[in-house]
Symmetry: C2
Subunit: 202 residues, 2 copies
Amino acid sequence: MTAARRGRGRPSRAEAMEGPGARERILEAARAEFAERGYDKTSVRGIAKAAGVDPALVHHYFGTKDEVFAAAVELSFEPALIIPAILGESPEGVGDRLARYFLSVWENPVTRAPLLAIIRSALTHEAAAKVLRGFVLRRLLQRVADDLDVPDPELRAELAASHMIGIAILRYVVQVEPLASARTEDIVALVAPTLQRYLTED
Amino acid sequence: MTAARRGRGRPSRAEAMEGPGARERILEAARAEFAERGYDKTSVRGIAKAAGVDPALVHHYFGTKDEVFAAAVELSFEPALIIPAILGESPEGVGDRLARYFLSVWENPVTRAPLLAIIRSALTHEAAAKVLRGFVLRRLLQRVADDLDVPDPELRAELAASHMIGIAILRYVVQVEPLASARTEDIVALVAPTLQRYLTED
């Protein structure tokens, strides 16, 4: 959808005025605004202000607030698009690689903040949940499931995802001890066999 | 804390006027208000109105909004207090019993709504997260961990909890398919061995 919008017709006057980096600036501003303020309190006007552009340009590139949110989700989940590659490598050790990769993304504050914002928004706003559902379902989990050689691959991919999301919530949001302070290695050692079983064993 | 408040001194004039069922009415109203409006939009005044009592009586029994929330969390988690008993029965089949019990609580809309409200509130408000953390840590997971005969029992109890919370979020909140429509039996069959391993095996 964003590609279609970007490609339509000749550049508008506003677009020509803002220069070629404007789309990326808007997207980064959107991600930061959604991360900081949450879905509810973020507005197209606020995103435009943070990006230093006219609100009309945000609408021009992305459409509605929901569509800007969808684009920000895709940007934030880019690291997750590596996951099919992780799975595709070889069935052996896939649980270990996946647990390790997942925790590395969450341990990094730069990638953690937007993911947290998305989870928070999806839990409190149906519009945000719909975006996450569509994206997670269409783009990520389906690709993971396509690579699996087990019965019910989609269900198993979602159970693996549910475990990782639950760990992220208890460790990084609710911060329950000892999980919040546990060493990454100790978590990987316990969780890897679970993911391995969901993704590779009958 | 609530017990201490309840027990202090002789009944106030307001308390005497409202009758002996007032405390329970307030607590049920608080649970409903937090479930419906979320932590942010719930007020002591609103709870008092829903319970048909004076706001001063809410303060008298529970103290601050945070303390009312803590009492509502305890009430909502009452079903969870059965879990140590489930674990204590016998190590064999504990994963199956736990997965089954957990899903039955979430399948029931009456018990699901307040749990959802708590998770949502904890994800968006540090005050609510603190209550959940304190409660989950002090009352529930510690009791579970005390019954486990494995290394790192607290961490394992939390990993089991994280998986169930993640399933609840993807199945009942984000509603990702096929997990959202999967039969309880199919989920139990896949998840029970995971819980079994966390809670009983080295």
